[in-house]
C-alpha cells in the first residue's frame, strides 16, 4: 500500500473500487457463497440506498434460515431462558418495551434495547457505536453477564450437540463446523433481511398513499427549522427533527453521535465516551432511526420517556446545557415553541413511519 501511495495509482484503484461496487448484483451469481448454498435474493426497496454486505458473509437462503433459528434460540443463554428475540420483540418493532432489558437471572442492563430494523444500512452498532459490524455486535450479548451470560465455548457445544443445528450449519456453510464466527454471521444474515419499507410514509413517498392533513402538517414541522425567528435566527416554528433524523436514504437517522440535552452530567452513563475515552463524546449517543418509532417505546438510551408526546416535550424545552450538547438543541433560545396542535401533528407524522406488515412477516417470527 505504501508503494501505491507514491505511484499515482492509488486514485485510479480507488476509482476502480467505486466503479466495481456499483456493479454488484444482489440477485446475480454469488462468488463468495458456500458451494451448496443458495444466494438470497435481497430486494432493495425503492428510494433505499444500496446495502453494503461484507464480502465474507454474503446472504444465502440457508444462512438466513439458520440465522433466524439462532436469533430465537434460548439455548444461547445460560439458563436457556432468553434469546436475542426476547429483548427484540416484533410487536415492539424488534425492541424491548422495558426501559432496561432483563437478562439471565434478572440481571438488568444499562440501556434500552435498540430497534432492529434496516440494520444493513447502519454503519455502527449499539448506542455508543462500539461494534463496527453487525457480525461483531452479535458476538457481544451472548457472553455478557447482564444479558445471555453464556460463554461462547459453551454456546457452541450446545449447538454442536443438536443434530438439527449441525445440519443447518452444513447447509449454510458447507460443513458442520460450528463456531462463534459462523453463528454471528448467520444471525447477521438474518438481521440484514429485517427490512421495513411498507410504512404509510414509504407508500406516500412512492405515490401509493396520501397523508392526512394532520400527518402532512406534521411532516412539514419535521423538516422545518426549529424556534421562534424572533429569538432563534432562521427559526421557522418547526420541529428541527430532520437534521439528525435525516430523510437521506429514507432511514431517518444520520447515524452520528449526539448529545440531545437530556442531562447536564453523565455520571450515570458516559455514552460514546465510554467507548472512545474522549470527554468530547460524553453524553453522546447514536441517533436512532425513527422507523417504527411509535412501536418502540420507551425512548432514549435509558428508556426514560414512555410516549412520543414526552419525547416531543423534551425537544420543546430545548434540553439542558452541557459542554457537549448538540448545537441543534434550543436550550439557549427558548426551545421549539410548538403549539399543542403542532405537537399532535408531529406525532401523527411519526405514526406514519409504522410498518405493521414488517413486524408481522412470518419469516421473521420465532421458528422454534
Amino acid at each position: 500500500m505504501s508503494r501505491l501511495k507514491h505511484s499515482g495509482l492509488l486514485p485510479l484503484l480507488l476509482l476502480c473500487v467505486v466503479g466495481c461496487s456499483r456493479c454488484k448484483d444482489p440477485e446475480g451469481p454469488c462468488d463468495n457463497c458456500p458451494p451448496a448454498a443458495t444466494p438470497y435474493a435481497l430486494e432493495i426497496p425503492p428510494l433505499f440506498p444500496p446495502m453494503d454486505i461484507p464480502e465474507d458473509n454474503p446472504l444465502t437462503v440457508e444462512g438466513v434460515r439458520l440465522g433466524r433459528f439462532l436469533f430465537w434460540e434460548k439455548g444461547l443463554s445460560l439458563d436457556s431462558s432468553i434469546s436475542c428475540g426476547s429483548c427484540h420483540l416484533p410487536s415492539s418493532g424488534f425492541s424491548d418495551p422495558s426501559a432496561l432489558s432483563v437478562g439471565v437471572g434478572g440481571a438488568l442492563g444499562t440501556r434500552n434495547s435498540m430497534a432492529l430494523v434496516n440494520l444493513g444500512w447502519a454503519p455502527e452498532y449499539f448506542w455508543d457505536g462500539r461494534a463496527l459490524t453487525l457480525e461483531e455486535q452479535i458476538l457481544i450479548p451472548v457472553p455478557h453477564p447482564d444479558e445471555m451470560a453464556l460463554d461462547w465455548p459453551s454456546a457452541v457445544d450446545r449447538l454442536k450437540a443438536d443434530p438439527a443445528y449441525r445440519e443447518r450449519f452444513q447447509a449454510a456453510f458447507g460443513d458442520e463446523d460450528i463456531t462463534p464466527d459462523r453463528t454471528a454471521k448467520a444471525i447477521a444474515q438474518f438481521l440484514r433481511t429485517l427490512i421495513s419499507s411498507e410504512s404509510k410514509y414509504d407508500r406516500w413517498r412512492r405515490g401509493e398513499a396520501t397523508l392526512t392533513a394532520s400527518e402532512f402538517n406534521g411532516y412539514q414541522i419535521f423538516i422545518r427549522e426549529g424556534g421562534d425567528p424572533e429569538t432563534t435566527p432562521g427559526g421557522q416554528f418547526g420541529g428541527d427533527c430532520f437534521h439528525c433524523h435525516s430523510e437521506s436514504g429514507v432511514q431517518f437517522s444520520d447515524y452520528l453521535y449526539r448529545n440531545n440535552g437530556l442531562d447536564a452530567h453523565f455520571d450515570a452513563d458516559a455514552g460514546r465516551a465510554g467507548f472512545t475515552g474522549s470527554p468530547l463524546d460524553s453524553g453522546k449517543f447514536k441517533v436512532p432511526t425513527l422507523r417504527n418509532v411509535a412501536l418502540t417505546a420507551p425512548y432514549m438510551h435509558d428508556g426514560r420517556f414512555q410516549t412520543l408526546e414526552e419525547v416531543v416535550d423534551h425537544y420543546e424545552t430545548g434540553g439542558v446545557f452541557s459542554t457537549t450538547v448538540d448545537p441543534f438543541m434550543k436550550y439557549s433560545t427558548g426551545g421549539l415553541v410548538l403549539s399543542p396542535t403542532q405537537k399532535q401533528d408531529l406525532v401523527a407524522f411519526l405514526h406514519t413511519l409504522t410498518d405493521t406488515a414488517f413486524i408481522h412477516r412470518p419469516e421473521f417470527q420465532d421458528p422454534h
Binding site: G8, P11, P49, P233, S248
Partner: protein, 253 residues
C-alpha cells in the same frame, strides 16, 4: 443531473472492465493537498479554545465543507479539470488528514480554483441513495450534510460554542449551516511558484484554511453571540456573508 448519472454509470463500467489504464500517457499525475487548519495564521485544532476578532472565547467542534470542481491553470492560462468525471470532496476537520486528492494531466500549473459547495446541477434533486454509501454525496458519506431533496446538501458546517464578552463560560451555541445553490462559492489561488505534476507521480502541496477568517474579513465580520445560528432560512443573510468570508480563508502554507 442526467450527464452526472451517466458519468457515474460510465465510471462503474470502466472500473469493472479495465481498472488500470495500460499506457503511461493515459495515467495522469496526482495532486495531494492536505488542508491545514489555522486560527489567525497559527496551527489550530478543533475543540481548542481561541479568541475571535471581537474578543469572544470560543471553540469549534465541527468544521466540514464540500469542495468540488477542482481545476488547475496551466502556464498559458488554460484551466484543466480533474481527470475524474465528477469531483466532489467532503473536507472534515475531525479526521486526521483532511485533504484533496485529484488527478491532472502531466504539466506545469500556476493556479488552482475550486468550488466550496456542490454545483447546482448535482445539488438539488439529487438523492444520496443514488451514490455508493461511502461516496461524499452518498447516504453514509454525507451523514449530517444532507438537508432535503429540495434544498440539497449543506455546503459548510461551522459549529461550536462561544462565551459572551466578560464571560469564560462557553454556553452560547454556534451553528452555521450554509447551503442552497446561492451559497456556492469559487475560490481561486495562485501557487507561490509554478508546480509541475509528472505522469504517474504524486505532488504534495499543502493548503491552509484559516477558520478565524470565516468570521472576519476586510469588508465584513460576523458576531457569534449576536448571530449564532444560520440554516440558510428565508431572509437570513448570515449564510451568504459567511460564505463570502470563507473564500478569503484559504492560502498556501
Amino acid at each position: 443531473m442526467a450527464p452526472f448519472v451517466l458519468g457515474l454509470v460510465m465510471l462503474a463500467g470502466w472500473g469493472c472492465q479495465d481498472p488500470i489504464p495500460s499506457g503511461p500517457s493515459d495515467i495522469p499525475g496526482t495532486l495531494w493537498m492536505e488542508v491545514d487548519l489555522q486560527w489567525n495564521g497559527e496551527p489550530f485544532a478543533l475543540n481548542e479554545n481561541v479568541v475571535d476578532h471581537l474578543g469572544h472565547t470560543l471553540t469549534l467542534n465541527n468544521l466540514q465543507m464540500y469542495i468540488s470542481e477542482v481545476e488547475l491553470q496551466d502556464m498559458d492560462g488554460v484551466w484543466h479539470r480533474t481527470a475524474r468525471p465528477e469531483s466532489v470532496h467532503l473536507l472534515d476537520f475531525k479526521t486526521p488528514q483532511p485533504h484533496l486528492l485529484e488527478a491532472f494531466p502531466e504539466g506545469t500549473y500556476q493556479a488552482i480554483r475550486f468550488g466550496v459547495g456542490i454545483p447546482e446541477e448535482i445539488n438539488r434533486g439529487t438523492d444520496p441513495a443514488l451514490f455508493p454509501n461511502d461516496h461524499p454525496m452518498g447516504f453514509l458519506g454525507s451523514a449530517g450534510m444532507f438537508w432535503t431533496w429540495s434544498t440539497g446538501y449543506i455546503f459548510m458546517k461551522y459549529e461550536g460554542r462561544a462565551a459572551p464578552l466578560g464571560s469564560e463560560v462557553m454556553n452560547s451555541p454556534i451553528a452555521y449551516h450554509c447551503g442552497t445553490d446561492a451559497s456556492y462559492r469559487t475560490v481561486s489561488l495562485e501557487f507561490p511558484y509554478p508546480i509541475y505534476i509528472g505522469a504517474q507521480r504524486r505532488l504534495e502541496f499543502p493548503l491552509a484554511f484559516d477558520a478565524a477568517k470565516v468570521l472576519v474579513g476586510p469588508e465584513d465580520s460576523v458576531d457569534v453571540i449576536a448571530d449564532p445560528l444560520t440554516h440558510n432560512g428565508p431572509n437570513d443573510p448570515i449564510a451568504a456573508r459567511l460564505m463570502d468570508l470563507l473564500t478569503q480563508a484559504w492560502s498556501f502554507q
